[in-house]
């Protein structure tokens, strides 16, 4: 026995390391060449999809008594870089599950993958029931192919809202098949198909009594990951699935046939609320006591909720659609948009107002209430109906005055509760002037310093965002932060004698006044002096190059800067930079110098009347920015009088 044992051990020790070495994968020269071609087409990408077929079928689940959706996906992915590290991800939640996942190589041999299944973390939500199943795809080199097959089940067709063609990676071909049985009425809404060569066919499968709708799109780029972009529903082609009704034992049962049905479902959830105002009754009385008008009363309540209830987002099954009871939100001092809207409503009701819960999609979503789908809204606010007017109150906003609407909800369609009925309306839009930021200063030269008396005024959203920053700063650091804000942390700037209007009052404009001393703004070369009057130079670095998607501004902007310079005795003005007076679409740039007596007035007004800059407007925008830069590049020249 022993004589056999020793050689065996020897063999084991010697070859064990090789046994553990990674196995090489045979990648065909054709696939290597294909990867090379794809890399040339998509140099920024590491992975591409050769083909992807998604099949969606529908069935009735008797135990749940719901129409379920079965999604079956087969895709073939190719690595187009040598070191591709790619994680395949599948989302699901309490209304769905991933029933199977498998990865195989090109030859069909199943590959080992280490799957991880975790709650999805996002800074957007404090808690979400969304879960993420993910695993790394084992690619060897460029040209290596992996087939990923998976199946997902939606327990209720209501939650199966849309399907996109685009992915995180480019695709050569994507095919969507919807297998719709005769007993189910589904409308497939084709969104943003224009400009894409999407082939559609419909095939009737008599045997299975179903219609098969097939959509195919080829050569698809990856979904852009640019910042400040509109939501995907604006640009990318996709299909909205609207399950309208079904027939069961000869009887028609309605799902989401019209917007009425969507509201009916929402209303059925809000009907379940058991609000009890006992805990906040005395507070409401306290808030409205002594207030002269109804608007003052409503304002006091709205501001209290904004100030005192923290926004903490939950997305948890049905709780993602049903508001929390007002007394809970009140006692916890936190809630999500629905909870905060409901508390505002209940407090207003207690004060004798007609206040309603209101559903809407923020500007991230391209849809309005022209069709019923859970994908049309993502937010809830409260509408106050007073003297025939509607006031939209979004308590999740911070430092938002009563009559101001945040950009994200302006112009959006809303669905306002009205018992069994509902009202569809639109939130008014406001001009950029409501968000004006002004910088007014009077300047004189002292040696090589510029001494300015500055007044800055903030309105609307520019004020709200500044107040938000102020109130989120530790009180012992506030003076330093304000100083930093006013001097931009630049050593050449010094702000003195700072005064400001109250940071606690949301209604009036916010105004900050101070003396600004600037070093290094004047270059004195004896006969000539060069003066840089505007250290801020708004929009100087705002050329949009190589951008593919529209640019979203946080809100409409009006920036107004006026600097009045006292021309020093013994000096005259040199050539002044050419004025800029350009406007296109909803954008205006007016920058100039004007001499008035012994004063030189520098004026810079930039207005952005529409908070989105479309790609087709980029060229004109960039030209304006170029002119602006040229203006900024040219210092003001003061020449000694001879």
């Amino acid at each position: 026995m022993r004589t056999y044992f020793v050689p065996f051990l020897f063999f084991y020790l010697t070859f064990l390391p090789l046994c553990f070495s990674q196995k090489a994968e045979k990648v065909s020269p054709e696939d290597i060449e294909l990867a090379k071609q794809l890399k040339e087409s998509y140099p920024e990408e590491d992975l591409a999809c050769l083909s992807c077929e998604l099949n969606f079928s529908f069935d009735y689940n008797t135990s749940r008594q719901k129409i379920g959706v079965h999604e079956r996906v087969e895709k073939s992915l190719i690595s187009i870089s040598q070191n591709t590290e790619f994680y395949s991800t599948h989302f699901y939640n309490e209304q769905s599950r991933i029933s199977s996942v498998s990865v195989s190589n090109k030859a069909g041999k199943i590959q080992d993958i280490e799957k991880k299944d975790e709650y999805y973390q996002s800074s957007e939500y404090f808690y979400s029931d969304a879960r993420l199943l993910y695993y790394q795809l084992p690619f060897s080199i460029a040209g290596s192919i992996r087939n990923v097959n998976y199946e997902k089940e939606y327990f209720d067709v209501k939650y199966f809202t849309s399907v996109y063609f685009h992915e995180r990676y480019p695709s050569k071909e994507v095919k969507l098949n919807f297998l719709i049985p005769d007993w189910l009425e589904v409308e497939l809404r084709e969104m943003n198909f224009e400009g894409y060569d999407i082939k559609k066919s419909v095939f009737r499968d008599e045997k299975k009594a179903q219609k098969i709708y097939t959509y195919m799109l080829k050569d698809i780029e990856s979904m852009d990951k640019e910042r400040n972009s509109p939501g995907p529903s604006y640009d990318y082609p996709h299909i909205i699935i609207q399950a309208k009704s079904y027939e069961m034992r000869g009887e028609k049962r309605t799902l989401f046939e019209s917007v009425d049905d969507l509201y009916a479902w929402y209303h059925s959830l809000t009907d379940l609320l058991e609000d009890n105002p006992d805990s906040y009754q005395s507070l409401v009385q306290e808030l409205i006591a002594g207030k002269a008008s109804d608007l003052e009363k409503a304002k006091a309540i709205y501001y209290w909720v904004q100030d005192n209830i923290r926004y903490v987002a939950f997305e948890d099954g049905i709780a993602g659609f049903k508001p929390d009871e007002s007394q809970n939100v009140f006692s916890k001092r936190y809630g999500d948009c629905k909870g905060m809207a409901n508390l505002t409503k209940q407090m207003l009701k207690l004060a004798g107002f007609d206040a309603r819960l209101t559903w809407l999609g923020t500007r991230r979503i391209a849809y309005d209430y022209s069709f019923p789908s859970l994908s049309v809204d993502n937010h809830m606010i409260c509408t106050l109906l007073l003297d025939g007017e509607k006031y939209y109150l979004d308590p999740t906003e911070k430092y938002n005055p009563f009559f101001n609407y945040a950009e994200r909800i302006q112009g959006r369609a809303v669905m306002i509760e009205s018992g069994k009925e509902y009202i569809i309306d639109e939130i008014p839009t406001a001009p950029a002037a409501e968000n004006t930021q002004s910088y007014l200063s009077e300047v004189k030269l002292e040696g090589e310093q510029l001494i300015s008396q500055v007044k800055r005024i903030y309105k609307g959203e520019s004020k709200s965002s500044l107040l938000y920053q102020i109130h989120n700063t530790e009180q012992d650091a506030l003076d330093k932060s304000l100083y930093y804000f006013l001097t931009r942390g630049e050593k050449n700037l010094d702000a003195k004698n700072i005064t400001n209007t109250s940071f606690d009052d949301m209604d009036p404009d916010l105004s900050i006044e101070y003396e600004l001393v600037r070093d290094n703004a004047v270059s004195d070369f004896g006969e000539e002096m060069y003066v840089d009057l505007d250290y801020y130079k708004p929009f100087s670095d705002f050329e949009l190059e190589d951008r593919k998607t529209d640019y979203l501004f946080p809100h409409k902007i009006k920036m107004e800067r006026k600097v009045v310079l006292q021309i020093p005795d013994g000096f005259q003005l040199g050539d002044l930079a050419q004025p800029i007076d350009r406007s296109f679409s909803d954008f205006t740039f007016k920058v100039n110098y004007q001499k008035e007596g012994n004063q030189l007035i520098y004026s810079n007004i930039i207005e952005i009347e529409k908070a989105v800059l479309k790609t087709e407007e980029f060229e004109e925008w960039n030209n304006c920015i170029k002119s602006l830069n040229e203006f900024y590049q040219q210092p003001l020249t003061l020449i000694k009088k001879s």
Binding site: F20, I141, N308, N472, Q475, P635
Partner: protein, 729 residues
């Protein structure tokens, strides 16, 4: 690597848990009652001292407690924290409105799987004294189910409230021999001021506590009686202002700090050994002295006999031998070892990532990856060749001085060869003989002669402090203005020596930059060129290795570009070219050097009618911009090392222009702490500017800070200067 826990936040605690010994008592109710029950010793006063009324938050009370018990088979370790904080503004409310913590922690061994629970409790104390306990069951899971991470939103929290919370953990472990728990080194001050804090230890006598307080931190007191089963120690600290840090500040050298470590002895012998250095009646160890160091290192570092035929052949080929040229040979030997151990290990790691490493070579990778390996091997070489050397054992100066050392993890060891007065240090794959890390600059060390027996005296040695001339960067910028006056074309040569060289090497040199020159020197083939593996496997590994090398090259370019942009404080989209001309890895005298060329459009040049204004000062790079509140300083100034930055700027003056404003470019400040000296002149069509900024020492007393301010401000002012290129009329 030394491990310091830099924040007490990393720990968990309690009050003295008298009689709490059995694990079975640990229910959430028991723990809650313990902290918040009738016996709560927390001061009842909720008022904040007037001087802290404007602070964001004030820690009214906090207590850390550690308890170590030996229950026979197991060692039970309790860690607990209780904290009560007054929240005085919205920012503080926001900070404490959510907590995330681990509900359980994994104490699995290779023998069994086990998790222990962390008990947590939160309550709000309203200004009127009303208390609201938070239901911890509302906490939600925030990560994968395996990680026990929980997150809780604190309901009803408002400005003016007090948040009162605790964490408590009980960790039973099995140790078959001596076990040292993680050492802790922390300042007593925190983000918020602290009215009162306590640190408490309870240890059975089988445990050994090392503890000391520094920079006027209160002492740890023994509070238990001689008959108590446990030794109880307590530190009480009151009225502690919040932490304020500033530029060039080593908090561990200045702030009141404490250090501690608890060690468990399985046997009486081990306990005796640990207590050997203590005076009569002492139970807590307060320092590690020379004796301890001698005991620890005399035998721990005993180099073996060295033999390497390949090294012998290499030296022979180079015509080197100890007899002919000892110093040069030592340089070559050190570099040879660096290549064959450390650099080789780096190559193997890259090969491994490409999937081409034979498992049998993994041990080489791990062996050479140990940063101390080259030094150890070199020590063996010295010993075998009877070249006298010593071990120098000291503490990085950021953390303290040698008489303040409390645990061995604080030490850093380098070799010293008295014959040449040079060091050999375990640092990185670019280190040459005589280079050592900046953190050992001027550090006082113990000297352990390797060959001598215990009777040998331990002498103190001070590691060299390098001069600003030794740690130097020279930048030569050659500037041409483009014909249309719209851009500057710049060619820059950057050369650095000393510690500044080390920084640049670490930032810029990629594996491929060093493999080529190192392997050519020692005649070594690249791993993937010689390894025997299956053909497809090797070809795939090569492809992946090449792709990684290309990625590294891209990273290298990005780093060069980013450093330039950071220095000039602007974007440089037209970064045209770079080239490393000297890696500086042959010996300490050889600099690291690279050339780069780039275009600067518009940013530094302004057109004023026919004239041009050029921000010439910016070419010396971004300078320290002292803020208003930095001008006065009460703390000493800790710099990593002395250093100097020289700049030569050569600009071709465009035809038809003359330079105006040169008078602003002359500075001459040279004082005891450093200086800034500059000059500018025109020679023919060239504008020549020279600047030199230098910090003379690695430490300045606070009283000398105004001298530093003088040259720092001068350099900043220079960096803001402009010249006028005036068109001849």
């Amino acid at each position: 690597m030394m491990i310091f826990k830099r924040s007490l936040l990393a720990l968990l605690f309690i009050l003295i848990l008298s009689g709490l010994s059995a694990q079975k008592k640990l229910t959430p109710e028991y723990i809650e009652n313990y902290f918040w029950g009738s016996g709560d010793p927390m001061p009842k006063d909720l008022t904040v001292p007037a001087k802290w009324e404007n602070e964001s938050a004030v820690i009214l009370f906090q207590e850390y407690n550690f308890k170590f018990e030996n229950s026979g088979k197991r060692v039970n370790q309790v860690e607990a924290l209780r904290r009560r904080i007054k929240l005085q503004d919205k920012a503080a409310v926001d900070q404490y409105s959510e907590f995330s913590y681990k509900e359980k922690f994994d104490v699995s061994s290779n023998w069994n799987r086990r998790v222990e629970k962390v008990f947590a409790g939160f309550k709000i104390v309203k200004p009127n004294g009303e208390e609201q306990i938070v239901d911890v069951n509302t906490a939600v899971r925030i990560e994968g189910t395996e990680d026990y991470q929980r997150k809780i939103a604190i309901p009803g929290l408002e400005e003016g409230d007090i948040i009162d919370y605790y964490f408590y953990s009980f960790n039973p472990s099995v140790f078959t021999s001596m076990h040292a728990f993680d050492p802790v080194f922390t300042p007593l001050s925190a983000e918020y001021p602290i009215q009162e804090q306590r640190i408490t230890f309870e240890v059975e006598r089988r445990f050994f506590v090392a503890f000391n307080s520094y920079h006027d931190a209160p002492e740890l007191e023994l509070v238990s009686g001689p008959r108590d089963k446990l030794d109880r120690y307590s530190l009480i600290d009151r009225d502690r202002d919040k932490i304020e840090t500033t530029r060039w500040f080593y908090p561990y050298r200045v702030l009141p700090c404490i250090k501690f470590q608890v060690t468990f002895a399985r046997s009486n012998y081990e306990l005796l050994q640990m207590r050997a250095g203590l005076e009569n009646g002492e139970t807590v160890k307060k320092e590690i002295d020379g004796e301890d160091v001698m005991d620890a290192y005399e035998y721990n570092f005993s180099p073996y006999k060295f033999e390497d035929k390949k090294l012998d052949a290499y030296l022979e080929k180079k015509g080197l031998s100890l007899q002919k040229d000892k110093r040069k040979t030592l340089d070559a030997v050190f570099n040879y070892m660096r290549t064959t151990l450390q650099v080789y290990a780096s190559e193997l790691r890259a090969v491994d990532q490409a999937g081409g490493l034979r498992a049998s070579d993994r041990s080489d990778m791990e062996y050479g990856s140990n940063y101390f390996r080259v030094c150890r091997e070199f020590a063996s070489y010295l010993k075998t060749n009877k070249i006298d050397f010593q071990l120098l054992i000291g503490v990085p100066r950021r953390y303290g001085e040698i008489h303040e050392v409390l645990f061995f993890q604080e030490f850093f060891i380098i070799l010293y060869i008295p014959e040449f007065e040079i060091y050999a240090a375990p640092v990185g794959e670019h280190t040459t003989l005589s280079e050592f890390p900046a953190f050992m600059e001027g550090v006082e060390t113990y000297t352990v002669p390797y060959a001598k027996k215990k009777s040998a005296l331990i002498k103190n040695h001070f590691v060299t402090s390098t001069s600003h001339e030794e740690n130097k960067t020279l930048q030569r910028s050659e500037i041409e203005i483009e014909e249309d006056m719209s851009a500057l074309s710049v060619k820059r040569i950057n050369t650095s020596w000393g510690h500044l060289k080390t920084d640049e090497q670490d930032r810029y040199l990629m594996l491929e930059d060093i493999l080529g020159e190192d392997y050519a020197e020692v005649g070594k083939a690249k791993y993937l060129d010689g390894v025997k593996l299956k053909k497809t496997l090797i070809s795939q590994a090569r492809l992946k290795y090449k792709a990684s090398a290309e990625e590294a090259q891209k990273i290298q370019e990005d780093r060069f570009k980013a450093a330039l942009e950071d220095e000039l404080d602007m974007e440089v989209p037209d970064y045209l070219d770079f080239n490393i001309t000297s890696t500086g890895r042959k010996n300490a005298a050889e600099p690291f050097s690279y050339e780069e060329s780039f275009l600067i459009k518009t940013d530094l040049i302004q057109k004023a009618g026919p004239n041009l204004i050029l921000e010439i000062g910016r070419f010396i790079g971004g300078q320290v911009a002292l803020e208003k509140d930095e001008i006065d300083r009460t703390e000493g100034v800790f710099l990593d090392h002395a250093r100097s930055f020289d700049n030569e700027i050569v600009m071709t003056i465009p035809e038809g222009y003359k330079v105006v404003g040169l008078d602003k470019l002359s500075y001459n400040i040279d004082n005891e702490t450093g200086g800034f000296v500059s000059s500018a002149k025109v020679e023919g069509n060239l504008l020549l500017i020279n600047t030199k900024k230098f910090y003379k020492h690695n430490f300045e007393e606070a009283k000398d800070w105004p001298l530093m301010v003088e040259f720092l401000e001068a350099a900043y002012k220079f960096s803001q200067e402009k010249i006028l290129l005036k068109k001849a009329s």
